[in-house]
Symmetry: C2
């Protein structure tokens, strides 16, 4: 597995169950998965040699993040290594503009979008779609970084200023009035078998997912449509392993595809406790082309609250036992130093209702993130 | 954690969730927990220096097995290390005769027993209790090793021959007609708080637990009595961490205490999937004197089947995906080479009924242990 963050950490925990040797390519021996005990090699995703050092001993190469230079992926593939997902699928998680092109060409509904390489491009887009518009970095953005809601030409100019126009580095998008955001998790094997999880409803603040409920509390018609759309997208793009399809539910109750992640995803952490097969076990099974597991839920509802660093100092060691005193609280820590805006863990609670699960999980998260 | 077998391996997986650094004392870097990624030190439980090398960096010392020389435990404790369970509690898992004395003195029902250091001792015991009798090694037996059902004086003589009579090395026990064997898992903190899991029914063959169901399908009165008895025993012996109390249900529907294990236990593996809090998370919480977690089940019933090596050669790599194709099957492998009679993994299934769960788990286990 290329990358050694919390997704690799939790994939390693699943790999131990099945006695699968998951070797991670880590930037540091303090990376989350390394601290969690995953066998590792130190190296950089920018180095083909480092990537090969991990790949050469592996049956399959897979990913904890998509920030790997495309040319290195293509070279690994050409050498003959088995990459799941494949470079052609993975690039859709790397390049938001490319993903939008592929999805809209295939007929999937997305917000109106345009590639932007100059202020005049952007002004042309606003004249058609009005203000505000959403400007997104074509590559590399996550957790709200690289996403801007732009209200007027002045903001637009200051954002685009300093960006060389050599290539279209921005994706402009119409601002859509939405009532909810969904994430549909699906696993797909190289042979094309797939299973879909109950849709998750995600709740963002400042571009970071703060909490989520499973299943989403949306009309059944929308949930069915979301599941079908995710399955269809997985096949269209040739996804393998876990795929998360993030969607908007508009005020008109239409679904629009927002972004793709081709890996286990933050929105799927509730599956560890809430589903028969966790997304981490499922990812391993999918990339190895093994039979996939049941995605059924073990409870009526579940909620996950992300633990996110604050401006104030935390005292996790003192708070953790207090949080565990709340019945039904499952804490997952990532061995990451909390910094403002940085996810360092999550809490999952199962309950009969999503609101009950969320209330309990929030209470535990608030305890852990209280000022020292 | 002293010891690095599968119990340490699964405790490490739980420790990763809570970002607890679980360092194991391992005899080899091929030990199950080491392969699973637990930080480790190589050493022997017979060496006080090796034990101290692990203990000195730890807040608490706990155990994956009880085969540690008592004098070393006592010395560690005297030096000031915090051992959970304490040496005085742990010796009851080390010494079956001592356990019986303590339990029967405290008024808990056990099979009639006597310490045996000669054939004449044994003959005196049989004249009171009849044949057969059960002879057990006082120390060190597990998985049926060191337990013998003796039918006649000839067998008795051949067993006792060659055993020096310097101390009573055998525990003689009346042969009890039983209808079921139960294991009651309980967690207790140093402060004396405790929680009890639903009783488990275990099924042995050749002295090894082959499978188990949770909850036990015994009359409610017996289950309640078993839970109360386990709780009372935990307090009486000052157990800390997980305690497994193995019990017989006699043909007269009486409960007799058989053996004690002061650690996570093979009979508790179903708790990983079937309970809100697994026995491994619970053990960590208990020995750290943290709040204990809910022991409620997430399904009506669960079954675990142990994967045990056979005389024939296995092909786990080929069979594992086939077993995973059976819906609802959870496989746990211990990174142990299968040898005849050696547990190398287990399978858990949750279901509405114990029989349904057991049928599915057995089917998966039979697949994995089929001849190559």
């Amino acid at each position: 597995m290329v990358g050694a963050g919390q997704l690799a950490r939790m994939t390693h925990q699943a790999a131990v169950d099945l006695d699968i040797e998951l070797v991670v390519l880590a930037a540091s021996d303090e990376d989350s998965a390394v601290v969690g005990g995953a066998p590792y090699r130190l190296g950089s995703v920018a180095s083909l040699a480092d990537l090969e050092a991990v790949a050469s001993a592996a049956d399959v190469v897979t990913f904890d993040h998509e920030l790997v230079p495309t040319e290195n992926l293509v070279k690994l593939r050409r050498i003959g290594y088995r990459l799941e997902p494949t470079p052609s699928a993975l690039r859709l998680a790397q390049d938001k503009l490319e993903a939008r092109h592929v999805l809209s060409t295939a007929g999937f509904p997305t917000p109106a979008f345009e590639s932007i390489s100059s202020i005049s491009d952007a002004m042309a887009f606003t004249s058609e779609h009005g203000w505000p518009i959403v400007l997104k970095s074509r590559r590399g953005g996550y957790d709200g970084r690289g996403v801007h809601v732009v209200d007027n030409p002045g903001q637009l100019a200051s954002l685009l200023k300093g960006n060389p126009d050599e290539e279209a580095v921005w994706l402009a998008e119409e601002f859509v009035d939405i009532t909810a955001e969904l994430s549909v998790l699906i696993a797909r094997t190289p042979a094309g078998r797939s299973v879909v999880y109950p849709a998750v409803e995600t709740f963002q603040r400042e571009g970071i997912c703060r909490y989520l409920t499973m299943p989403a509390t949306q009309p059944l018609r929308i949930l069915e449509q979301a599941g079908q759309m995710a399955g269809s997208i997985a096949g269209t793009i040739g996804a393998t392993g876990m795929l998360a399809v993030e969607m908007f539910v508009t005020t008109g109750n239409d679904l629009l595809v927002n972004e793709l992640a081709l890996r286990p995803h933050n929105s799927g952490h509730a599956t560890i406790e809430a589903c028969v097969t966790s997304q981490f076990h499922q990812h391993l099974r999918a990339v190895l082309d093994w039979p996939l597991g049941s995605t059924s839920m073990r409870s009526n509802a579940a909620a996950t609250v992300n633990l996110i660093g604050e401006m104030h100092e935390l005292d996790i060691a003192a708070r953790l036992p207090q949080a565990l005193a709340i019945p039904g609280v499952h804490v997952h820590l990532y061995a990451k130093t909390p910094r403002p805006g940085r996810k360092f863990g999550h809490i999952t609670v199962l309950d009969d209702s999503a609101s009950g699960a969320l209330e309990t999980a929030k209470a535990a998260a608030e305890l852990i993130t209280k000022p020292r």
